[in-house]
């Protein structure tokens, strides 16, 4: 089926263009970042699917633009193990023959593989949307290809490319050593508990997520993943701020972490890691009680930047799905809080011409993407 992009949006970027496309789906269906590093070198950070067609959205986006995915996608990064960042990633990997696959993991790799394998065995009997299937499928592909998994951790150079005058470095900024050890302990405890009634991962994953810095000829972009701020300085953003050695230059584009949630915010991130005229991009989320981003957080972001863009609104419908009238009536009698989370696809495409003397990000809003202005408050 593919994505319905117009001719202009389908055009491939020029060799000298550094391009970041943030794909969002509204509600809680996921996000992905598709990045052109110049000279047909692409990377993909996370994956999501269209819940109706089950198509892998970053893959469809690349195909719609006639990218030779088998050859030109150099890196696929799985930032963390949440459904809204991982759905479709095995299909993406299966089609990107040359791509390096990177993710964070605990240090006891055997235990980690046992953990995934056991959970996968349970899921085979009880189909669900669990992310375990995706991870297990990726392992199978990498085994067949005889390709290593690039472990992401603090201050790790994941990819370096040199094309003509272009030098690209991609660093992972997290998770910290402390969090990797914590992951070891968590897996060991899960084995001890042998509790099959909870979907894994049961512990919050956001402190284990991989934030990255992309640097193309000195132009930096910070992708915040879902990394949160913790009171423990050994994890999350404080650890990045205090300990990362690779953050030498301020970023001009920032993917705001964790859908603009308060727990992903710290003024030090904005003051120490980002330039004054930074462009902020984010995706919405809604799966629990509160839709993200909240109004108060939007106001905070707008105090830091006037350039703030979101892939769509939160996509919350005021009613349940459309069904037979009689069925809807009975649902409403038993529970009148049922609300559909609409699939609202949007792309914020940001382009920087590296050869310009004073490069500035150009923003293109596709489908439901929009700019957030001070008076708008989403």
């Amino acid at each position: 089926m593919g994505l319905n992009l117009n001719n202009e949006d389908k055009q491939l970027p020029q060799n000298s263009q550094f391009e970041i496309s943030l794909l969002g789906t509204g509600a809680g269906y996921g996000e992905s970042v598709v990045i052109h590093l110049g000279y047909n070198n692409w990377i993909v950070v996370d994956s999501c699917i269209n819940p109706k067609t089950k198509e892998c959205l970053p893959l469809e986006y690349l195909r719609s633009r006639d990218v030779n995915v088998a050859k030109d996608v150099k890196l696929i990064l799985c930032t963390h193990w949440h459904d809204d960042h991982i759905q479709g990633i095995s299909e993406l990997l299966a089609n990107c023959d040359e791509a390096v696959f990177s993710m964070s993991a605990c240090s006891d790799q055997k235990k980690f593989l046992q953990f995934v394998g056991l959970d996968y065995s349970k899921r085979e009997k009880q189909p669900s949307t669990s992310s375990t299937e995706e991870i297990q499928a990726c392992f199978n592909i990498l085994e067949e290809r005889n390709k290593p998994i690039k472990k992401a951790c603090q201050d790790r150079l994941l990819l370096q490319l040199k094309n003509g005058n272009f030098t690209t470095n991609i660093y992972s900024l997290s998770p910290s050593d402390y969090m990797i050890e914590a992951f070891d302990r968590e897996i060991a405890e899960l084995f001890d508990q042998n509790n099959p009634d909870i979907r894994i991962p049961i512990e919050p994953q956001n402190h284990k997520s991989v934030a990255i810095l992309i640097e193309v000829n000195g132009n930096c972009v910070l992708l915040g993943s879902d990394l949160e701020v913790s009171t423990n300085p050994e994890k999350g953003w404080i650890c990045v701020l205090d300990k990362c050695q690779c953050l030498n230059k301020k970023s001009t584009l920032f993917k705001i972490p964790h859908h603009g949630s308060i727990n992903g915010y710290h003024s030090r991130i904005w003051n120490e890691l980002l330039s004054e005229d930074v462009t902020g991009i984010l995706t919405p989320f809604h799966k629990g009680k509160k839709p993200l981003p909240e109004h108060q957080m939007i106001e905070k972001f707008l105090n830091h930047t006037e350039y703030l863009f979101i892939t769509s609104d939160t996509g919350l419908s005021r009613s349940a799905k459309k069904r037979d009238h009689q069925v809807s009536k009975v649902i409403n009698q038993f529970n009148n809080t049922v609300q559909e989370l609409k699939f609202t696809f949007g792309i914020v495409k940001c382009t920087l011409n590296i050869q310009d003397e004073n490069p500035k990000w150009e923003i293109k809003l596709i489908e439901n993407a929009k700019r957030i202005l001070k008076s708008q408050k989403n």
Binding site: Q126, F139, H286, K289, E340
Partner: protein, 176 residues
């Protein structure tokens, strides 16, 4: 007298009415006993070969009250994933079993959950929500049923297979 029977859940489920009766028996047994199901309890365990095990003595008890447990026809069912829990209620993501495309969310009162299931109510827990019509003494009544998933422990064979596969992957996969 043999006090345990094994039913082929797949086959029975294919026969609609009988499948519904069995479903009602299962949920009835759970309510009747009003306890949390402990590990290795023989009720409501779906085993690796997809068989359901019941304690026959409880079925006999239910049978004596069968006017209470007649069949229920589902008109709508979801798989739910608990996302937030508050003092009196909880919020969940719902996936429509017939149309597993877009999600829904809903808030439920804890009173909707049977006492025996309350200890399973945790963030990330999986439950099944069905609404439909039940027949009681010939009267048709609307019914809503929430049942939390209990997973039987995987068999030694499946466990060993998973461990073997993990060992194989550990040998073949490299981490850079």
């Amino acid at each position: 007298m043999e006090t345990n029977i094994r039913l082929d859940y797949d086959k029975i489920s294919k026969i609609n009415d009988l499948g519904n009766i069995v479903n009602q028996y299962i949920s009835g047994v759970i309510k009747e006993r009003n306890i949390s199901i402990e590990k290795n309890n023989s009720i409501d365990i779906i085993t690796d070969d997809n068989k359901a095990e019941f304690d026959l003595t409880w079925l006999q008890k239910i049978d004596s009250k069968k006017d209470v447990y007649e069949y229920m026809s589902n008109i709508q069912s979801w798989t739910g994933y608990v996302s937030d829990i508050e003092e009196d209620n909880f919020t969940a993501k719902l996936i429509d079993k017939k149309d597993p495309t877009t999600y829904e969310i809903a808030t439920f009162s804890k009173e909707d959950v049977s006492d025996g299931d309350l200890n399973l109510l945790k963030p990330g827990a999986v439950f099944y929500w069905s609404i439909g019509y039940a027949t009681n003494k010939g009267q048709r009544i609307k019914q809503s049923l929430i049942r939390f998933r209990r997973s039987g422990n995987i068999s030694v064979q499946v466990f060993d297979q998973a461990m073997d596969r993990a060992e194989e992957l550990n040998q073949n996969l490299t981490w850079d």
